[in-house]
Homo-oligomer: 193 residues x 2
DNA sequence: GTCCGATGTTAATCAACGTTAACAGCACCG
DNA sequence: CGGTGCTGTTAACGTTGATTAACATCGGAC
């Protein structure tokens, strides 16, 4: 009873459905059976594609962290000034959050459920991504401190990542503009002594 | 083997420990046994104080929502101008978040695990609290829209509630000041057309 | 045409969990 | 004193869940 189409799309299809379910009900609130059903399979079928539930989550978070860091770093390097770099980071993060609300939610909430070997690596990537922001902020505000820049960065992440909880009152473009304006101003406010 | 002290403190003690555990590992990641152990009891002992695990969570979220709304409303009424009201809301929310990081985390993440009769009530309270912010923002920016004010409010909640994820680089006072500055500026940025 | 690897399925296993039952000590009231 | 709640405990129950085993199908390589 295999589907006519059995491409390597399956893994991605499962990851995508899992992101949605994990975001809505939490990692422990979703069973392997739920996951399978979401893509038209039975639970055990997932073991043909992933080592287990934890491995699935780990791969999901690893992928998100890598994408955030890679593209973030790319845009910073391409920028011609610290201010432009910050703007590029802002736009990248906003686009990612608006395009992948479920991924952002899981990324923020479920790290604690990833087993240790991979948990470390994900944390490393998350930290490296945050440090991109810190680095740029320190170039713009050399008179401040790393600690302040780090706290401001996390606060802005909180602001931008809150998107998934917004019930979509605004259009995507309006929301992107709003978040950009708010985050920009928050970041200048963070360094006004 | 009852403790010498068996005051009604027990309920609060359990709720407090539960908040900490739920915040760290998520509702489904904490067992009744874990909960009991955290206060020096066995799992089944909890049923002397709560109807069940869901009821415990419900009571916790209900209490948080009520406190946020009650004190928020009080401060708004006591304020002499919309600007002062906004400032009061800001300070109240920041104080609450910094003093109760675990509660804030659970409040944001675990609504979905509350069973239906009480879920509705909690949502109602959360909405009412957010509408306090919206109301004040609309007084300050009558030319804007409710939708915009609502989205801005949720974004600011995200910013302020991100505190628990900050690894405490700054002192409490420094953090409070930083959050206040960032949120204030974010909210003016939200309405600059 | 046959064989094989990839991809499914159903049935079985084993642990964990929420909850309830049965029982015990303690404080306090008469 | 004797009883009666209140608050614990341990043992037992039933369910659910992750994982594995055993078995089926299909498409393509030879």
């Amino acid at each position: 009873m295999a589907e006519a189409t059995a491409p390597p799309t399956r893994r991605l299809e499962i990851l995508s459905a899992a992101a949605e379910l994990f975001a809505r009900r939490g990692y422990h609130g979703v069973s392997i059976g739920d996951l399978g059903r979401a893509v038209g399979l039975t639970g055990p079928a997932l073991y043909r594609h992933f080592r287990g539930k934890e491995a699935l989550l780990a791969e999901m978070l690893l992928d998100i962290s890598e994408r955030l860091l890679a593209e973030g770093g790319r845009r910073v390097e391409a920028a011609e000034s610290p201010a432009a770099a910050l703007d590029a980071l802002l736009r990248w993060h906003i686009d990612f959050a608006l395009d992948n609300p479920a991924l952002i939610t899981v990324h923020v909430r479920e790290l604690g459920n990833v087993p240790q070997p991979q948990r470390r690596e994900i944390r490393r990537l998350q930290r490296a991504y945050a440090e991109e922001w810190v680095k740029v902020l320190r170039l713009i505000h050399p008179e401040s401190t790393d600690d302040r820049a780090r706290s401001a960065t996390h606060a802005v992440f909180g602001l931008l990542n809150s998107t998934p909880h917004s019930t979509g009152d605004l259009s995507r473009d309006a929301m992107a503009g709003l978040l950009h304006a708010m985050a920009s101003d928050a970041l200048t406010g963070a360094f006004r002594s």
